[in-house]
Amino acid sequence: MDPIFLVEAAINGILLGGVLALLALGLNLIFGVLDVVWIAYVDLVMLCMYAVYFVVTVWGWPFWVGAVAALALGALLGVSVHVLIISPILTSAPINQLLATGGLLFFLQSFATFLWTTDHRSVRLTLPSWEVAGIFLPATRLIPFGISILAVIGLYLFLTRTYIGTAIRAVSQDREAMALMGADPRRVYLVTSAVGGLMAGLAGTLLIFQYAVHPFFGGQFGPLTFMICVLGGLGNMVGAFVASFIMSEVIAVGGVVFSTEMGYVIAFVIFIVMMFVRPGGILTKRS
């Protein structure tokens, strides 16, 4: 095989990794703070992609209006999911929360099918593409990558430099102690869900650059996103970031060397094995 294909696959892997990192960080924030897996997280992203599609392609507004709409919708969805579904069952068995958001997944997928049919819809953007040493670098991949890296840095600064960000990290370390310190965990949960939703909105805006949206879009990225979160370590932002790039490289390079499915199979098998070897995430040592 021509090594240029491998180089191209590796670069595509890095570019995919940026977007995966954004998806994983939003979910991981919620996962770390609330200890709840939102199985339907990528389906919220799917709704935000539809928002961009409708605002830009159907109603003809400029792209930034669509992006703002998607971000607002994302934050709203995040808060609604928390208030309506998670907060009533926050104290029941963890598996119930998993199942409740799984029910939401079914609901969103089939309601989207009902409203918008299973057609694939895309936003057509005319953006340039560069060729560097025989490798194509389309702006539709470079721009989302750049923005998601900026967003990841922004999230990092939010969590480390602001008061509420510090409170969020504190809750993810010890729920009870935080309540004893006089902070209101409910407010922290709400802000976390809103920020997680906002990340979903941003991810939706960036994913529509390269992917067509359809009701089952969540199935394409959902399982991968949870695995990245767990692989990186529950609530560990840096771990999730590293894990996104490992998974995206495995998928991109494995996809070229073997086949698309085998790329995913290898990535999932790595996840399963890592769960046994390093259950706390790739960056921790086994205790």
Binding site: P94, L104, F114, M275
Partner: protein, 337 residues
């Protein structure tokens, strides 16, 4: 529970004596729906063998797909009878269960970590089936090679009555297994493990061995169900028999009916099937997705307000009325939805 027993016996008699019930021209359709309900509730109770003890698997599609594809591939390519093919499929599913189960239970992968590992396993099997497209025809699915007429050797019958009784018998056997486990000492041990593994181990319960045993049992029964379903429908598809979609559907039908009670999976499957069929008949294909929308909505509402499911909650309510000094329910039931 004498009234309940009498009702159950009556229902069972009606199911067995089904040819005597006048159904007119609808018999074929009713039989088709009944077979689907029987097979899927059998798979649901196989799942709940694990699920009720906190071993929530989101990857039972792996076992289902293994059972279905093994028997169909062996028949199509080598002419091996599905009787043997099913055995091979069950053995393959047990193999997967052991390979995944031993490290999972030894390293104490529990709660949603277990769910995510099994989810990955389900996806791996689905992707492998798609990737091996030379054999399995990939996402297009594979049609069972016709044996040419009815045949016990090929387990192919044009008459739905045969599958009706076969799936009813399999379902009853599945319920019997559930009941046996429910009445055994192992149930208490498994419940203790579900509550706290370390504490269970400290009183001498062999945690890894018991969890592995119940996983293997559940996997074997699920593979059997998958194989039977493939024989009945005579078509297999990776997306309907393995992967995250079908795995979640199994879980949700059980949760809806109630995973802690014998008939919960049956009630849940019957309700979801009735809902899907009812909406299909009422609205046709115009409202594509509406049935699953209502289904998803109900699931969320149920998990929030009735975590022990429809059947489980009803049974609890009856029990409480029957015996006045009622123990407090584990979860306070709310009436507003």
């Amino acid at each position: 529970m004498t009234v309940g027993r009498a009702l159950g016996a009556g229902l069972l008699a009606a199911l067995v004596l089904q040819p005597l019930i006048p159904l007119g021209g609808y018999r074929q359709y009713v039989l088709h729906v009944a077979i689907q309900v029987f097979i899927w509730s059998f798979i649901g109770s196989a799942w709940s063998l694990m699920g009720r003890f906190g071993l929530v698997s989101l990857g039972h599609g792996a076992f289902l797909g293994m059972g279905a594809y093994t028997s169909v591939l062996l028949w199509n390519f080598f002419g091996v009878s599905p009787w043997l093919g099913t055995l091979a499929g069950v053995a393959a599913a047990v193999g997967i269960a052991v390979v995944i189960g031993i490290p999972c239970f030894r390293y104490q992968v529990i709660g949603h970590y277990f769910g995510l590992v099994t989810l990955a396993v389900g996806e791996v099997i689905r992707l492998l089936i798609i990737a091996e497209r030379d054999w399995t025809a990939g996402s297009l699915g594979l049609t069972l090679k016709a044996a040419g007429g009815d045949s016990l050797w090929a387990l192919q019958y044009a008459n739905k009555q045969v599958f009706y009784y076969a799936s009813l018998a399999v379902l009853l056997a599945g319920l019997w297994v559930w009941h046996r486990l429910d009445r055994s000492m192992l149930r208490s041990a498994l419940e203790a493990i579900g509550e706290d593994e370390t504490a269970a181990a400290s009183v001498g319960i062999r945690v890894t061995r018991l969890k592995l045993g119940v996983t293997v049992l559940s996997a074997a029964l699920t593979a059997l169900g998958g194989s039977l379903y493939a024989q009945y429908i005579s078509y297999v598809n990776p997306d309907t028999l393995s992967g995250i979609g079908v795995s979640l559907k199994i879980v949700f039908a059980v949760v809806l009916g109630g995973m802690y009670s014998l008939l919960g999976p049956l009630v849940g499957t019957a309700l979801t099937t009735a809902l899907a069929e009812g909406l299909r008949i009422a609205f046709g294909l115009k409202f594509l997705g509406m049935a699953d929308t209502i289904y998803g909505f109900l699931l969320v509402v149920f998990i929030i307000f009735l975590p022990s499911g429809i059947y489980g909650s009803l049974r609890e309510a009856f029990r409480r009325r029957a015996s006045p000094p009622a123990p407090a329910p584990a979860v306070p039931a709310k009436t507003t939805a």
